[in-house]
Amino acid sequence: MLKTEELQINIGPQHPSTHGVFRLMATVDGETVVHLEPVFGYLHRNHEQLGEIWTYLQTITITDRLDYFNSMINEHGYCMTVEKLAGIEVPERAEYIRVIMSELSRILNHAAALGFWLQDMGSWGTTLMFGFRQREMIMDIFESVGGSRMMCNYMRFGGAARDITPNIVEQIQLFLEGFPQFIDDFERLMMDNEILLARSRNVGVLPKELAASYSVSGPVIRASGIPYDIRKAEPYSIYDRFTFDIPVGTVGDVYDRFLVRMEEMRQSHRILQQALEQLPQASGSYINQAYKAASKQQGLRPPAGEAYCRVESPKGELGYYIVSNGGNTAYRYGIRAPSLINLTALNDMCRGYKVADIVVILGSIDIVMGEVDR
């Protein structure tokens, strides 16, 4: 018998499927992973420090760059925190606009994430393009409302930057009509694929207890069997007005995360339909007019104090913590980034599986390095 040696491979920082500049120090025995250490920090951009130097209004623009796949939800969370701090009320219509944009953002993120995940699994490009086609349609909607496709910069304190016109409502409705077809097609294309089942079932299992002790959130913890969703656990904005379900997995493997994301897109579709039906028609109430002028001139000075708000981002629980000392910039600004915290469980998910599984498991966590490194 020949003597064998463990091999240490550095997957990344330059690697096609690490979702950005991210490094995985994998110790492998042949093709089996013995230990895996995530190394990050290559994309650090002083986000939290910038948030303390820039004014509150300016900081909205950099929250877009946190998780650049769902800028709307990032802005939503940040604006909610500042509103809580300054005691700003949000008009009814503005809340609906925010929910619509957030749910569109969730669909956008999941469609792209599933495409990327299957790309990591080796289905060359087709599924990615399939997801990206939906993403493109949503980005067109974002462009109509905010003027930008990815970095929307749309939410403001007390509402949104612009009102949504009947044309845009029509555009969203058109998208919603075609969407169930996409989900069904995607499911038919991939769900019964023998190779996909073989590669994703019982791979990267994260048991319930371990998931809770790592405090992972989002689809990862739901796939492990814990129905934890901020939209239900601590309803923010107007989420308590809609009826929707939280999909929960049973095994906590990669396949469950895939199914949970599919189902979440369906539930977002349900929320969007309800929100469009209930959307109040009072035009002009897309922003709290009393604060519109103040926020435009960057003159927003919340009273001294602190506030923490959390929203359900597609990646998990996204929290903002802001301390104000009465000035026009935040005194302290911190973020609970779901991607970073979900990433900590990676070693336990990967140990014992093959090298080829690492990228699949990483893809199933769905990280964005902009949010991990901030």
Binding site: N10, P16, G122
Partner: protein
């Protein structure tokens, strides 16, 4: 070809030499041209499946894109990693390309036959195995962990998949009674242009085709078996440390292997250049080349199609698939082939195809019995083996998310 040069020079050995040089040059040039066409088909085909445009700027429909890329790769700097084994690193692409091109020596282009050796099928299998050595050389010499893993995967995969590949060819060799590729194609010839005489239209040939085609996909490192170069896992596998012209050579060898697979499959199972009118003296040769290219490129399009829709297998699953699925099927196929031979040729001469059977009274019934028996055996074997290996059939696993 030899006769033509003898007509000009009259000297026997000189004419032979010239004829071989001509044939080799023709193979090399047509190989490169075919490779260009293949990359174009692959990129445009994939783009079409993925709602993209694909390369469409250089030349008409982007047909000259491969030329532009060839110029780019040739003019690039040739980099050898400092810690690499210089000579092995340099020789690996040469070995891979040489073994691939050598396989083309016995592949008939319709009625144009480069060399007809009596163990042609064995030669193809043997020479394509040399390819494996090149992969291991490339992976080892690069002194890169990704390259090493890719090389190891490549070797393990090639060795495993050669076995079902060869055993599925054994069935055809038994059927034909000869290892010559030309004889295999002749066996599928029908004077009435009846395509039912192709091997794929018998139960035995169909199963052999399925096994051979899947094993060949693995042999040619095509998705879903592209593990040695698995882009999303190993960057580029054993090709990671190659750049410029060396990479272009590896790339060329890759596509030539794919084309060789398609050509062999077309020859062995789809009748090569056989088709309506392929036996007319001069026009028939042209027609047969067209038929051959149409069949081979059609098969290549199937490869592209598979690449467009199927995710990659993991290395251990890949091994299981070769040993637990393909190998039993190939062995069962040998068994049913011997039954087929025993039933159709009981007391008859070797080499009785459909045409002869049609002319002989009582043979139709014999053929029908052979069809029935082998068909039932093969279909049952396929479903039994598939059932044993199915992951979908596992009932203990229930992962359907429930709404709470």
């Amino acid at each position: 070809m030899r006769a033509m040069w003898e007509f000009f020079f009259g000297v026997g050995w000189f004419a032979t030499l010239l004829s071989y040089i001509t044939i080799t040059t023709a193979i090399l040039i047509s190989g490169s041209l075919i490779m260009m066409l293949l990359t174009w088909i692959e990129r445009r085909g994939l783009a079409y499946m993925q709602d993209r445009k694909g390369p469409n700027r250089v030349g008409p429909f982007g047909l000259l894109q491969p030329v532009a890329e060839a110029i780019k790769t040739i003019t690039k700097e040739d980099i050898t990693p400092t810690e690499a084994d210089r000579w092995v690193h340099f020789l690996a692409p040469v070995v891979i390309l040489a073994s691939t091109v050598a396989a083309f020596a016995v592949i008939p282009w319709g009625n144009l036959i480069p060399v007809d050796i009596n163990v042609g099928v064995l030669y193809i299998v043997a020479i394509s195995a040399v390819h494996t050595v090149g992969i291991l050389m490339a992976g080892w010499a690069s002194n890169n962990k990704f390259a090493l893993l890719g090389g190891m995967r490549g070797v393990a995969q090639a060795i495993s998949y050669e076995i079902p590949q060869v055993i599925s060819l054994v069935a055809i060799v038994m059927l034909v009674g000869s290892m010559s590729v030309v004889d295999v194609i002749q066996h599928q010839m029908d004077p009435y242009g009846n395509i039912l005489s192709w091997h794929i239209f018998t139960p035995v040939g169909l199963l052999a085709f399925v096994v051979f085609w899947i094993a060949s996909l693995a042999e040619g490192e095509r998705p879903p078996f592209d593990n040695p170069e698995a882009e999303s896992e190993l960057v580029a596998g054993y090709m990671t440390e190659y750049g410029g012209m060396k990479f272009a050579v590896l790339f060329l060898a890759n596509y030539l292997t794919n084309f060789a697979i398609c050509a062999v499959t077309a020859g062995v199972f789809l009748g090569g250049g056989n088709g309506p009118g392929s036996d007319i003296p001069i026009l028939g040769t042209l027609l047969s080349v067209i038929y051959f290219l149409a069949k081979s490129l059609g098969l290549f399009f199937v490869m592209v199609w598979i690449r467009g829709v199927v995710p990659r297998l993991r290395t251990d699953e890949l091994m299981h698939f070769a040993w637990k699925f393909l190998l039993p099927l190939a062995l069962v196929n040998i068994f049913s082939t011997s039954l087929w031979i025993a039933i159709t040729r009981w007391g008859a001469e070797q080499g009785m195809g459909v045409a002869e059977a049609l002319g002989e009274p009582g043979s139709i019934a014999r053929l029908a019995v052979a069809w029935l028996v082998t068909g039932v055996i093969n279909v049952v074997a396929f479903f039994v083996v598939a059932r044993i290996n199915a992951t979908r059939g596992i009932t203990t696993y229930q992962a359907t998310p429930t709404a709470v």
